[in-house]
């Protein structure tokens, strides 16, 4: 019997040598005259173990990792194709505590299946959500999403069902679904993992959204920094068209939905939904004034749903198992699960999908295993480059939108970047201003000018010039950015800057206790 071997095709696994490992396994098997079925799966997101090689056995999928090409010959010697013991043995992958303790709804298939193989998708509960959606009315689809309590996973946490309902009830000859796949936040990679590891779940989610609101055209606005995701999406879309899951008369329903991937061009601001639409229209990515809401007048002036990858990829399971099923996970007004991404200076970096409610400390230590350097964790930035830095005293905050908001922090897209005690927080604050200056679209003055002035003021503070006066100036400037910016780029840059200043004043050359922002 042919033995099935899995080597991830995920770009992070590839960045650690997965392609070389796959090649070495194929060559070694051929040389030894053994016939194997080599599948390039997605990654489970246990990145400290990548490249993670698995072998299908009667007991389950047995893992080895991290494997380098130079280990392959000894793996064969250890009879790994029958699950033999090797120094890199991990046992049954599903039973690894990091994975077993998670609640994987959106990521249910990722790591298990061959990403662009439609049959594999169908064999693992794929397109069941669409089948249910096709059997009910548009309003009932929207109701299921509303009932699920799903809120925008891009960071703004706006209720998805309400957005869909507005588009459904706005009359127009053309409507659009846009997937915001411009995942530019540092420390985030869950969108990338979905697009590379299970592209059909996003395609299915967008198709359901299109049918629900009456939109026949969808666009995935993908950042150009994700070439592997681009290939996976285009392959999956072609396969979906061929099998009648996209295009006209989807599965004999009479419904039409077309889907195309469009590439961004390295502008962080295009992750802001109105800037994204300008970019899709072929223009400079300048932020639009709201209202009108995109749901009423969006792409090319038509009603448009703009949702993040994770939001849309969560729709199939909601339509498959029902809004109540999804809503039963989570706490308070944060329902369902959030794929958290552990990054930076952390021992066990990776993807952790869990119901809302776990504390940051549990995530950092129970899952992450503490810092990679072994030094104490000093600060954690949650929610991307516009998210606040949390000191140790805030690590017991539950991962919940409202609990985070209550202490002037944000959960955002679920990125968690860890810094050990060697970090200089004044330098990080200066970087935040620099980043805002580089990425500002230039439309509103507070962001365009304020970010550059902020960078200069931080420089003064770091050089010890008039620290007290300059700190006051910095706070004043942050106040202008917070209240006067058109979008979240200028409006939230003060979060990392002021949180760094308030929690780590010593790094700014200030001895007295922090003032409250």
């Amino acid at each position: 019997m042919t033995i099935t071997v899995y080597v991830p095709n995920d770009s992070s696994a590839v960045s650690l040598g997965a392609d070389r490992v796959a090649k070495a396994i194929a060559a070694e098997a051929e040389q030894r005259g053994i016939s194997i079925n080599l599948i390039r799966n997605g990654s489970f997101g246990l990145y400290w173990l990548e490249p993670l090689v698995e072998v299908a056995t009667e007991q389950g999928r047995v893992g080895y990792g991290p494997v380098q090409a130079s280990d392959v010959s000894s793996l064969f010697d250890a009879n790994f194709l029958q699950g033999g013991t090797h120094a890199l043995s991990l046992g049954i992958v599903e039973d690894l505590p990091y994975l077993k303790k998670q609640q994987r709804l959106t990521f249910a298939r990722i790591g298990k299946t061959s990403p662009t193989d439609l049959n594999d998708y169908l064999a693992n509960d794929g397109y069941r959500g669409l089948a249910n959606a096709l059997a009910i009315s548009q309003a009932d689809i929207v109701k299921a999403v509303t009932d699920s309590g799903l809120r925008g996973r891009g960071g703004a946490a706006f209720p998805t069902g309400i957005k869909w309902n507005t588009v459904l009830n706005t009359q127009a000859e053309q409507k659009y679904i846009i997937c915001n796949a411009d995942e530019g936040d540092s420390g985030t990679f869950s969108d990338r993992m979905v697009m590379e590891g299970d592209p059909f779940v996003l395609i299915e989610g967008m198709t359901i959204a299109g049918i629900a609101v009456g939109a026949s055209q969808g666009y995935i606005y993908l950042r150009v920094e994700y070439p592997h995701a681009h290939i996976a999406l285009n392959t999956a879309i072609a396969n979906a068209y061929q099998a009648g899951y996209l295009g006209e008369d989807i599965q004999g329903s009479g419904k039409t939905f077309h889907l195309e991937v469009r590439l961004g061009a390295g502008a962080y601001i295009c992750g802001e939904e109105t800037s994204l639409m300008e970019s899709l229209e072929g223009k400079r990515g300048l932020v639009r004034f709201k209202p009108p809401l995109p749901a009423i007048s969006g792409l090319f002036g038509k009603p448009t749903v703009v949702n993040n990858v994770i939001s849309l990829a969560s729709v199939p399971i909601i339509l498959d198992k029902g809004g109540d099923y999804y809503r039963d996970f989570g706490m308070g007004r944060s329902r369902g699960t959030l794929p958290l991404q552990l990054a930076g200076n952390i021992k066990q970096a990776g993807l952790v999908e869990l119901a809302f409610g776990l504390t940051l400390r549990e995530l950092l230590y129970d899952f992450g295993g503490g810092s990679a350097s072994g030094r104490p964790i000093k600060a954690v930035q949650v929610g991307g480059p516009l998210g606040a830095y949390l000191p140790e005293s805030q690590f017991d905050t539950p991962l919940d939108y409202e609990a985070f908001a209550a202490q002037w922090t944000v959960l955002g897209h679920g990125g968690v970047v860890v810094f050990d005690d060697t970090v200089d927080m004044a330098k990080m604050a200066k970087y935040s201003m620099e980043f805002c200056a580089i990425e500002s679209c230039g439309k509103c003055t507070p962001c365009r000018i304020g970010s550059t002035r902020g960078y200069e003021v931080m420089d003064e503070i770091i050089n010890g010039h008039n620290v007290e006066q300059n700190t006051k100036l910095l706070r004043d400037l942050c106040n202008t950015l917070l209240n006067g910016s058109l979008c979240a780029l200028g409006g939230m840059t003060p979060y990392p800057v002021l949180s760094a200043l308030n929690h780590f004043p010593k790094d700014f050359g200030i001895d007295e206790p922090a003032q409250v922002a």
């Binding site: 770009s11 992070s12 590839v14 960045s15 650690l16 997101g45 990145y47 400290w48 990548e50 995942e183 530019g184 936040d185 540092s186 420390g187 985030t188 990679f189 969108d191 990338r192 150009v224 920094e225 994700y226 070439p227 592997h228 469009r262 590439l263 961004g264 061009a265 390295g266 502008a267 962080y268 970019s279 899709l280 229209e281 072929g282 223009k283 400079r284 990515g285 090319f300 991404q341 552990l342 990054a343 930076g344 200076n345 970096a349 993807l351 990679a372 930035q381 480059p385 990125g415 970047v417 860890v418 810094f419 050990d420 970090v423 990080m428 970087y431 980043f435 580089i438 990425e439 679209c441």
Partner: protein, 163 residues
Amino acid sequence: MTAAVNTQALVNDITSALKDKPGALLPILHGIQDAIGYVPPDCVPDIAKALSLSRAEVHGVISFYHYFRTTPPGQHTIYLCRAESCQALGSEDLETYAKEKLGIDFHETTADGKFSLEPVYCLGNCACSPAMQIGHDIYGRVSADSFDAALAELQQAELEPSA
């Protein structure tokens, strides 16, 4: 002369193939940059004409996006991530090392035309920081040594013509 004519023909082919798409400008610019490595300023009038835009509008779009370039890149473009997660694991030292090793700053190309160096703000490889991208290849947990090894491998690959 011939090269210039070929470039213009190529640009016209790409433009006419894509100009009827809604919001065609970015796909056209990507098409041109994919084909010749940059968007030559000379082709702006042709693109503008095909899309019924002003030259200023086309130029404005090209200059807005960090990814589009108006000068030829080196044979290999190295993108080094500068974002927070990579900083948490020493990307600043790597940045200094790479600049010294190549003898260039960001947005520059080595004198021999081999390497261009660009900053990037997140490659989504944050679980394996610091990260770098060369062409479509992504590298994780990059150190000074593995940076050297990646460059050496690229130069080695040029010496061995592929079958």
